[in-house]
């Protein structure tokens, strides 16, 4: 009996968290309902459309670059032994996720500002990549390690496969779901990145202004524009994550 009460308490606590998370997401749609017509008008505002275009395109590019970077990094981390590997993994995966993005934006501004990269579309990509790519790298590394544990790569090598074949015929096909999951989370994180992008790339409409920067700059003065941009970003993220989950489940 006591144990059941305890379990009930756990379920109540979990439910409270679930409701809090869901309300946090869904309240935006309630806000849209209150200002329906002005938000719909704002949706067709050129600045909002520009931010949507910049956000989606840059996040897709960041996702693709992250996968391209994740494959060699994951191979290195999963298969090679060297001194300082643990520290390197922290630098590649943990640090970018905890490092203050605003500081990262400043670092890039100092590093690349003098070569003319600041306030360009490339700056948007660079800023978002640092913060988002660790998702893809950590997913790929975890999966490559699982495959190494299974010994399948050793068997492939005994059959004459060099590193190219091990990668192309064993590691990548067996990691496709994880790479897709890594891509989707990287994409979603890149969609939401604000601080590093704002500091390094600024907010030039149709050039560097992404949805989060637009929301930040218009939240107080033009809330309907901020709400319109946010609702687009949020809907896209939810639809994208659900689709990726669905694809991943079908593939399994």
């Amino acid at each position: 009996m006591t144990r059941d009460r305890f379990e009930l308490a756990i379920i109540v606590l979990a439910s409270a968290l679930i409701i809090y998370m869901l309300v946090s997401i869904l309240y935006l749609y309630i806000a849209v309902g209150e200002r329906w017509s002005s938000v719909v008008n704002a949706l067709f505002d050129s600045r909002v459309l520009g931010a949507i275009a910049i956000s989606i395109s840059s996040a897709l590019i960041v996702g693709a670059l992250a996968i391209a970077a994740a494959i060699p990094s994951a191979y290195l981390l999963a298969y090679k032994s060297f001194r300082g590997k643990g520290a390197l993994e922290t630098f590649l995966i943990d640090l970018p996720q905890t490092f203050p993005p605003v500081t990262e934006g400043l670092v890039y501004l100092l590093m690349f500002g003098r070569v003319g990269l600041a306030y360009t579309y490339a700056a948007v990509i660079i800023a978002k990549f640092y913060v988002s790519a660790p998702f893809a790298i950590s997913f790929a590394t975890r999966r490559f390690r699982e495959i190494r544990e299974s010994g399948l790569d050793v068997i492939a090598r005994t059959l004459g496969a060099g590193t190219r074949h091990v990668l192309g015929r064993i590691l990548l096909p067996l990691s496709s779901r994880d790479l897709l999951a890594g891509f989707s989370l990287t994409w979603a994180r890149a969609m939401g990145e604000l601080a590093a992008t704002l500091v390094f790339a600024g907010a030039i409409p149709w050039r560097t202004e992404a949805i989060p920067t637009l929301v930040y700059l218009t939240a107080a003065e033009m809330p309907e524009v901020a709400i319109a941009a946010s609702v687009i970003a949020e809907t896209l993220s939810i639809v994208a994550l659900l689709s990726f989950r669905w694809i991943a489940r079908r593939r399994s």
């Binding site: 010994g151 399948l152 050793v154 492939a156 090598r157 005994t158 059959l159 004459g160 496969a161 096909p173």
Partner: protein
């Protein structure tokens, strides 16, 4: 000299000596069973022969060639691990064809060889099946066909019967022996199970603490065990072997 020679091989992990100047000669086309308790160094021996681990000293010779400096993808050793290690994303045909494909054999040659092997291992008609649709015995035969596809001079088997249930063990064992005989490949099989080693091996090498302490035919070992330890390790066979005899 044809066959596999392990010459004075040692391998340590820190202070633990897994292989201790181990000597072993497997004649061409012979089926040699290496039998010993868990932790005696059997797996390390396989990994050193395969080229996954570098020995601290000693040499591995295959058909008269010193292969010490060859990486594992250049040694051409057939290997069937304990869990068979089939590639789960590839069907039976592609598993068998894997080694030929990565060696860039022409498609017609790959097809002929894969079909020939599937006949040998009695799996015709199962080309399109995925590993998860196969029984343990079938998986083992696919793994054998895959390992033999590139005509390796040596075949290594790691506990080949440990994943097979008791009901089909005798049949699988007979099959394994038959396939080895037909392919005439020099075979080294490690197992902790006395019955498997006696039924499979033309000769048995008894391994303990990183050394081969006796190597002889099954009957030879039963007739004159070199030490009390050997007698103890093969004790169950005094009854089983005399009751059932060889396969």
């Amino acid at each position: 000299m044809k066959g596999l020679v392990v010459q004075g091989v040692s391998k340590s992990y820190g202070t633990i000596k897994a292989l201790d100047r181990l000597e072993l000669n497997v004649d061409a086309a012979e089926f040699m069973a290496v039998m010993g308790p868990s932790g005696c160094g059997k797996t390390t021996l396989l990994l050193v022969i395969l080229g996954v681990l570098k020995p601290d000293e000693g040499h591995i010779w295959i058909d008269g060639n010193d292969v010490d400096e060859l990486p594992l993808d250049k040694r051409n050793i057939g290997y069937v691990p304990q869990d068979f290690g089939l590639f789960p994303h590839l069907d039976v045909y592609e598993n068998v064809a894997f080694g030929l494909r990565v060696r860039k054999h022409p498609e017609a040659r790959i097809r002929d060889r894969a079909e020939e092997l599937l006949v040998i291992v009695d799996l015709e008609g199962m080309e399109g099946r995925k590993p998860k649709e196969l029984s343990a015995g079938q998986k083992q035969r696919v793994a054998l066909a895959r390992a033999l596809a590139t005509n390796p001079p040596v075949l290594l088997l790691d506990e080949p019967l440990s994943s097979i249930d008791e009901a089909t063990k005798a049949e699988v064992r007979a099959n394994l022996k038959e396939i080895q005989k037909r392919s005439k490949v020099t075979t080294l099989c490690v197992t902790h199970n006395p019955e498997d080693s006696f039924q499979l091996g033309e000769r048995i090498a008894i391994m303990y603490s990183g050394k081969i302490i006796q190597c002889d035919t099954p009957q030879g070992i039963l007739d004159s065990p070199k030490t009390d330890l050997v007698r103890k390790l093969v004790a169950p066979m005094y009854i089983l072997w005399n009751q059932r005899g060889p396969l």
